[in-house]
Amino acid sequence: MSLAFRDETFRDDFTFYNSPAAIRRFPFPFDRDEYMYSVNIEPHVKGPVGSVVEFPIDIDEHYVAEMKERALVLQQDPLRCQSLPHMITAEWDLVELLMTSMAESYPQWFSLTRDGDRWHWINRPLEIDQKFTFGDVATLPYPPMEYITRQCQGDFSLLDQREDNLWMDAGIATTQADWSLDFDIGMNFMEWHAPVPFAHQMGVFERALKYLLNLQLGRPVRRLNWTMTINPRLDTSPEQYPHWGKDRTQVTPENAGQKVHLRVELQGLWRLPRSNAIVFSIRGYLASLQELSTSPKWARRLSRILKSLPDEIADYKGLTRHRPLSIAWLSRFEDGSPTTPGCGPD
């Protein structure tokens, strides 16, 4: 696959956009017209060629720009990347998982040569050529997790497993939908999920935790989550709220198509071999209402989903103020006709 990595921005002048091919492969998360809460976990197995789940780790046309954005965020706020000391084994596990996966899926961009503990990593898009000793932190320019996640799209957290619980003891979050690693670090699974409405009463987190505690090596799982973001801004963190919170007041019926973006997170979970920790990856995809409406099915379905969304969930996702404007903008595609089954475009 040949791909042109675009020079684009996710802040200030917001030059981000999706190519027609990127829109077609957008992981639209709704398989029906009515909103239904579900945990929707499935095995993270190879999906259709060209889809975001063709490979375990998806690298797309925004790769180089997203890595520049990550470096900017880290420069301004180093606390976006944190790791408690006992997580060093899990950090190395993550280096191995990402490097081997990226090199195997995209040999035209990445290569990994291993001779025992002596590893040689080449990242052509970012012009990196690094020889290092696996397990020796002194041989890399950053700590292992930070080193590799500065070269991989998506946020990551490393969950330590002990006391029949999962603990968010390391992670990097520069492209997050309003959660804070600095706030959550050291919390357990129940603590960091406490703000989610409804799901606790439904027993969702007890079941999900039990399932994840038994997650097996070599059998990763994934799910999709979604929210909406104003402007193609990757860094909608609580730390940056003063900069992006006001964006929600600037949506108008005229500009909603360009400003309002569906933000879909492809979340993956892998058991790590040496540390017995779990890596939780959160890979975000953005598409404006206008981009999505190039498939009228998606436009009709999204407007129906937004209409049927319970107020509590709209509040939790931060959609309350602009939801009517999005529905109004999408209404030009609402001709009452049915939508075809499945998540895919027309």
């Binding site: 330590d160 497993q161 002990r162 038994n214 097996q216 090596l217 070599g218 040496r274 017995n276």
Partner: protein
């Protein structure tokens, strides 16, 4: 029964390591490296004639650094369901078997300030890889190993030379006992305790630690007793209508797998909770042998852990 995620391996070496104790080496048939594992991990091995009528869990006793294959160390037991007897008597070098990917239900706690490892007999197996990993990580630990010394205890010489003063041996056939009270009372705060061995040793260690005020989060144990046999019974699956007979030496889980059903499972020792299935009705008494369900849940009889528990009676109906 072979599972979709099984790894096909060839037995490449069988060695006697002590009385009635053999080490088996497995290498992937496709020639690649098997998945990495960490200290405390186990695999399940499909055993018996006719492509694995039973599946037993065995701790990986080799080195996590060994990327060519896996090793397990198996004691020939007399009350065996046939798993250890099959390995000792039927399995030959060159033979192919199916194994699962590694599962770690006895992992190292990386927050511990110190690790106290207590092994009895063949319960030494998880500590072979754990001590190697702890040493590599520069962790503070001690291993106390109770064994029968007359029959050449498995791995004693290797552990002694590798661990030096961190290794402590007790010859139970000479009347030597681990003084659990002194040992456990003398540990600094922040120590984590790991025990593996005969049921009696595990129970005594947990009881002593608890009575000395050890927090339960700091006590880790792995039981490796096999599921007990029992009278045959019938199980009916309500969703498919399928009826399966569970034999005397077979577990409910194995009988279902044998019938082509792939119900959830993981540890095969009644510990992890993965194989829990809802019970619709039971004509007879449910014999719960697991360590997972609470007393209340057992009394309620709404679910059963298929890997170890069974029915004493005629027919069990599961909502599956």
């Amino acid at each position: 029964m072979i599972h979709a995620h099984d790894i096909r391996v060839r037995v490449t070496a069988i060695e006697d390591v002590a009385a009635r104790t053999k080490r088996f080496r497995f290498e992937p048939v496709d020639g690649g490296s098997p998945p990495l594992f960490a200290g405390g991990a186990h695999i399940t091995v499909a055993l018996g004639d006719d492509d694995g009528a039973i599946r037993n869990p065995y701790t990986l006793s080799g080195s996590p650094q060994d990327r060519g294959g896996y090793e397990i160390t198996v004691l020939r037991t007399t009350d065996s369901r046939g798993g250890s007897a099959f390995l000792h008597e039927q399995v030959r070098v060159g033979q192919e078997l199916s194994i699962s990917a590694p599962i770690n239900l006895f992992p190292i706690n990386f927050l511990a300030r110190r690790h106290l490892l207590i092994a009895g007999g063949i319960g030494i197996t998880p500590f072979l890889s754990m001590t190697e990993q702890l040493a590599d990580l520069g962790q503070n630990f001690e291993l106390h190993y109770a064994m029968t010394c007359s029959g050449a205890a498995p791995y004693e010489a290797q552990l002694r030379s590798r661990l030096g003063r961190r290794f402590h041996r007790y010859c139970s056939d000479r009347g030597e006992r681990i003084d659990l009270e002194t040992l456990l009372a003398g540990q600094p705060l922040g120590t984590h305790l790991y025990v593996c061995g005969p049921e009696r040793l595990i129970d005594a260690t947990i009881a002593m630690a608890t009575s000395l005020g050890w927090p339960s989060e700091n006590i880790h144990f792995e039981r490796f007793a096999g599921p007990p046999p029992g009278d045959p019974f019938t199980v009916r699956l309500a969703k498919s209508g399928q009826t399966v007979t569970v034999g005397q030496h077979q577990t409910l889980l194995e009988a279902l797998e044998r019938a082509g059903v792939e119900p959830p499972s993981l540890c095969r020792g009644g510990a992890c909770g993965q194989c829990e299935l809802p019970v619709l009705s039971a004509e007879g008494e449910l014999l719960h042998y697991d360590h997972f369900l609470s007393e209340e849940a057992r009394a309620a009889g709404h679910s059963i852990m298929t890997c170890v528990s069974r029915l004493k009676g005629r027919e069990l109906v599961l909502d599956f």
